[in-house]
Symmetry: C2
């Protein structure tokens, strides 16, 4: 039995292309004592994949020859660990592969649900990132204005829907008129500004007549700069990502930092979803409540086939997804 | 009786010079009902004076023809207010003038102390800004490393001394070898890096072998950028000022923002000292304790004569002060 893997052929110095990846075949790996053999079902495709290629972050840098790391949902095929059994569905740090080996105590057993992909979207990394960042750092209050960039993305869509459920005015930023309409019509945002149009600052100001109390930033760069000028005193900026800065070798910082932080007494704070794992049960209960009331709608963007993972990532960086993007490597076990 | 005032002749578009000011003489102003006539004794000279000339901040912009606003310590010469009496020493929002009018309920009566200037340095805006920013936003813990820019300045010197008293390793950043020696020898910092020397990042890294847990930023720009690269995960950046950005028309943001905030889960937060007025009593008690134990030494930089206020501000922006800079307009009443 062979195992397909997608590895880094060459690290990008500027824009990522399919030429930076290569597909190899290896023998099926063998689980040692305490380890498990996993079949990858769904892989999470995230802007973070690109940032790992730029150097060490909260994890070691990805190197040439490495299979691309990924958060994945997997089925246990063989277990040498008392923690999990064959047939269990688990979350694991995997790679872009058909099969991976993991330590039994490193994987997390997932509950049985009807639609496994929901464990990666609304009840997974996307929904949890949105909830924890918004609730713990943004702390929005009914009546406040919440601005969200990458509003049609996996995290942004949930941020806006949660903030609406809390009684906030919610304004999105997305690329292109079709996505902006979708954000308003399907996700229920109050307004959505197209950052590809000229006059971003003016459009934002008119969409946020009372200023911005919470800005949930997924992009950095010029959009962050424009958003900062609209912040109200004591506003909170949730620093979740900087997708505009990942796929370039000449990052640019917002020119109004740190001046605007001092003058408006803003707070900018970064986080990663694992920091809030101790609150996950509370988070999932809240998300289930809002899904139940219909205040949160679940949108997923599933690309089929391991071989399409590079294209799925490149497209994500160009902003062509709506909702949580993932790659299906194998069918759900039934 | 005549009243000298220094007003804005022309708003600067780049570097501030004495040509941007003019001195005028007017009649002594007259206090209406509820108002008081104040003689200005000491004026606080702050980088903020320069930022007010750039546009609206937490106060309205200073305009051509305005006398420069200033925080001042004054003697009450005439009172039409039941709140204060002739001879009282008060803190007031004044202007660069011999005499000003203020509303009685806008001035704050100060305690009788031996050295009035201490009410502007350690027990005034400098000491309070240092204390509140460090304690409420920086929240340093014994054993952590605290990095402070403008370490020889009015606020930075107290930040470092307070952090030392709390048991932190304290590293300063200042301009020139003489100032750096003074920061270590007189203020007791563990180390001080000269930002005018080549190789700032390397020098900072070697002065902070365990990274930086709290960075108290008075300057912004390139020094902020270099400091951010040294932050430990969950580090706190206290945004107190951006003196490097005030005297220019082409501000530059740190190129590593917001990326580094996300990756290291940093918090950056701005404040102004008035936000923490409810904690002033606690603050003064702590500062008095440390002054009493000798852990805080008080350094003041007093320039004589109202006519020298423009030069005192220009010099402050160029970094030629050690300790809290103020201008003495009139002798202490005795």
């Amino acid at each position: 039995m062979q195992n397909r893997q997608i590895t880094i052929a060459e690290l990008p110095t500027a824009e990522l292309t399919t030429a930076h990846f290569t597909q190899i075949e290896t023998d099926l790996p063998v689980a040692a004592e305490g380890e498990v053999l996993l079949r990858v079902i769904l892989m999470s495709i995230d802007a973070a994949n690109r940032s790992w290629m730029k150097g060490a972050t909260y994890r070691a840098a990805v190197q040439t020859g490495d299979a691309m790391p990924t958060y994945a949902i997997c089925e246990v095929m063989h277990s040498n660990s008392p923690k999990v059994a064959v047939g269990d569905i688990v979350a694991a740090e995997a790679t872009w592969s058909d099969y991976v080996i993991a330590k039994g105590h490193h994987v997390q057993k997932l509950p049985k649900v009807e639609t496994i992909s929901h464990l990666m979207s609304v009840y997974g990394i996307a929904g949890k990132t949105a909830y924890h960042g918004l609730m713990s750092i943004g702390r929005p209050i009914a009546g406040e204005t919440v601005l969200v960039s990458a509003a049609a993305g996996s995290v942004g869509g949930y941020v806006g829907q949660i903030a609406r459920a809390l009684g906030c005015r919610v304004v999105g930023i997305a690329g292109g008129p079709e996505k902006c309409s979708w954000v308003v019509d399907e996700l229920g945002f109050d307004a959505c500004v197209d950052y590809r149009e000229a006059g971003l600052s003016k459009a934002l100001a008119s969409a946020c007549p009372d200023g911005v109390d919470v800005y949930f930033d997924n992009v950095g760069g010029k959009i962050l700069e424009a958003s900062l000028t609209l912040m109200n005193d004591k506003g909170r900026v949730v620093c979740c990502g900087a997708i505009s800065q990942y796929d370039t070798d000449t990052p640019t910082g917002p020119r109004n930092l740190p001046g605007v932080i001092v003058v408006k007494r803003l707070k900018m704070e970064g986080f990663i979803v694992m920091d809030f794992a101790h609150n996950d049960a509370k988070c999932i209960r809240a998300l289930q409540h809002w899904v139940g009331t219909g205040q949160i709608k679940v949108f997923e963007d599933i690309v089929d086939g391991l071989e399409n993972a590079p294209k799925a990532l490149i497209g994500l960086l160009a902003g062509d997804n709506k909702g949580k993007r993932m790659v299906r490597v194998a069918a759900d076990p039934s």
